[in-house]
Amino acid sequence: MTDAQLQHPTFHDSRPGLATRFLTGAGLIVMVYVLLYVLYAVQQPKALTSYSIAALINNTAPLALAAAGQAIIVISRGFDLSVAGVISICNVVLAVYPLEGPGGAAVSVLICLAIGAAVGVVNGYLVAVLKLQSIAATLATMIICQGIALVILKAPGGWVAEWISYEMTDRLWGVIPVSGLVLGLVLVIWMVLRRSPFGISLYAIGADESSAALSGINTTRVRLLAHVVAGCAYGLAGFMLSAQTATGNPSSGTPLLMLTFAAVALGGTSLSGGRGGVFATMMGAATLTLLQKVLFSAGIASFYTGMFQGAVLILAVVFSAFLVRLGDRK
């Protein structure tokens, strides 16, 4: 509806202002998070001790990483269910073949990344090259991965290497949680990726694949790559999950599946692609985990916590969408 202005000889800048851009980006969810944290701290003074904070971040890390991967796929206009499978496989592998010491940890990380990447390649090939619908293809790969996990480890058990399970959940100099650093690292990588041609193409194919193709973007490669990158994120998530639970469980990934989508949506990433970001998604994940704490310390009758979680989910999405529209209107 801004056609008239465009005809005016006068020069128009239709960029949203800094404020709106912040609000429509990760800003909203960050504010929500801070707000909830205040609520939490008010009811539970211990919330501000570096231990509680570290514990909270440890608790958040696996979901945050998994959701980060999911966000990448969603931005490219897809769904990825295989996240559950990848995490399970990584978890059981780390529990069945523990590798002690920092060296072992390094190798373990590489193994997880490799597993994620491998599954990512398969997904990517099915979706980008064979043109299967992502939700369908990844449903199949998820089932297969869960099978593999069960083959590797029949029932919960096994031991994740001490070094991993302690160091990765520890605090540097008793303050900075290692898991927090991992999240930070992933964020930095995303910052670079997002500004790389790959990142830009990612948003492009998410918004309009055929136009992107006609504009000379190699959509197949971008899509494939997206699945590989996402896979690596899942692998990392599996690694952090193992570090935290210190043990193997062939179905450890399953509970995270739906939560990743909730996190993505909370982060304001539209499930119809081309919009959103990884940082906001991670904050979304953090909010979900924090919400449990808040509801707990608020003493909500355990039966009804679900009601609040659902309501918060809806409200957050409605509100961020509202802000986005404000931004567009401007």
Partner: protein
């Protein structure tokens, strides 16, 4: 949307009657529907190799009885997907149907003839809420229905305080346990439902609206389609279907649990997609979906007959689903189209 060849329409056009370039005969819907059906049969027959007792009529009966639930569910799910949505609230709504059927109605209740519809109505309200949220609050269907699912589930948890009470209504038991024309009632019901559902989707005005909205909401609105109605109602339909399945399940296993819906979500989506529908909406037929649902059920019965450890079984199941998806791919269809020339 059948395609007619140029000979079917003699030179009625004013212009360009000279344009004799051929036109498509097969539609992708027909192709995928047929191929799903073929896959089902092949799977059933190949089962004999695994175990002679399989592929028998009794297995077919079991498949149809167990498949009934999934077929009804994936009708609702399919209608929602057709309009470009997604309904993740199925598990909760199924459970709701089951819980209410046992606690409100229960066995030997003379009022069941109006109470059971009441149960369905209640489930419908859940769908209405979801639809309203999607349409007016503009919450993505995925999230809206997921949130509704969480909310309803915890509501039921609170309502039952963790222990569902009561037994199945007689009508529900009758539906699942009686026989008609020497066939188990669910089998007959499935056939009727499949035909009715197909007619609804492909042969009614409302059905066309569903396709239109699923293809492009704005264009549909411009074409005078009552978009609001067409976007909300599917969620109601889906919820009512789920509620009905809940009641049927209660009739089948005489009692409700709070997790009775959980194993049906992904299958309901898988059935629709395997049946050749597009998850983005606007494409697919219900017959295809029925095929998909039965395919999954058959797979289940065969898989559980394999004497392998669970992990391997799961791998095989996933692989077969993947294979089915690959067989029903767009490209293959395009090639077929080329042959049909």
């Amino acid at each position: 949307m059948t395609a007619t060849s140029k000979t079917a329409t003699p030179e009625t056009g004013f212009t360009q009657t000279g344009d004799t370039r051929g036109s498509a005969r097969l539609t992708r819907e027909t192709v995928s529907t047929v191929s799903v059906a073929i896959l089902c049969v092949l799977l059933l027959l190949s089962a004999r190799l695994i175990n002679p007792a399989l592929g028998s009529w009794s297995q077919v009966e079991t498949v149809l009885v167990l498949g009934f639930f999934l077929v009804v569910l994936s009708f609702g799910q399919g209608v929602v997907i057709l309009t470009g949505g997604l309904d993740l609230s199925l598990p909760a709504t199924i459970t709701m149907g089951g819980i209410l059927a046992t606690s409100w109605v229960g066995a030997g209740n003379p009022g069941e003839w109006y109470l059971l519809p009441g149960v369905l109505a209640a489930c419908g309200l859940v769908g209405l809420a979801t639809g309203a949220g999607v349409l007016w609050l503009r919450v993505p269907p995925f999230i809206m229905s997921m949130a509704m699912s969480i909310i309803v589930a915890s509501g039921l948890l609170g309502y039952t305080r963790g222990t569902p009470r009561g037994a199945a209504p007689d009508a529900a038991v009758a539906l699942m346990k009686s026989q008609v024309l020497g066939l188990p009632t669910p089998v007959v019901a499935l056939v009727i439902f499949a035909i009715a559902g197909w007619l609804f989707q492909s042969r009614t005005v409302y059905g066309r609206y569903l396709y239109a909205v699923g293809t492009n909401v704005d264009a549909a609105r411009n074409a005078g389609v009552p978009v609001a109605l067409v976007r909300i109602l599917p969620y109601v339909i889906s919820a009512v279907c789920a509620g009905f399945v809940g009641i049927a399940l209660v009739g089948y296993s005489n009692g409700a649990t709070l997790r009775m819906g959980d194993d049906y979500l992904l299958p309901s989506i898988a059935a629709v997609v395997i049946g050749g529908s597009s998850i983005l909406g606007g494409r697919g037929t219900f017959l295809g979906t029925v095929g998909g649902a039965l395919l999954l059920t058959i797979l289940g019965t065969i898989i559980s007959a394999l004497g392998l450890e669970f992990g391997l079984r799961t791998i095989i199941e996933g692989s077969i689903i993947l294979a089915a998806l690959l067989l029903l791919r767009e490209e293959l269809f395009q090639k077929l189209r080329g042959l049909g020339r």
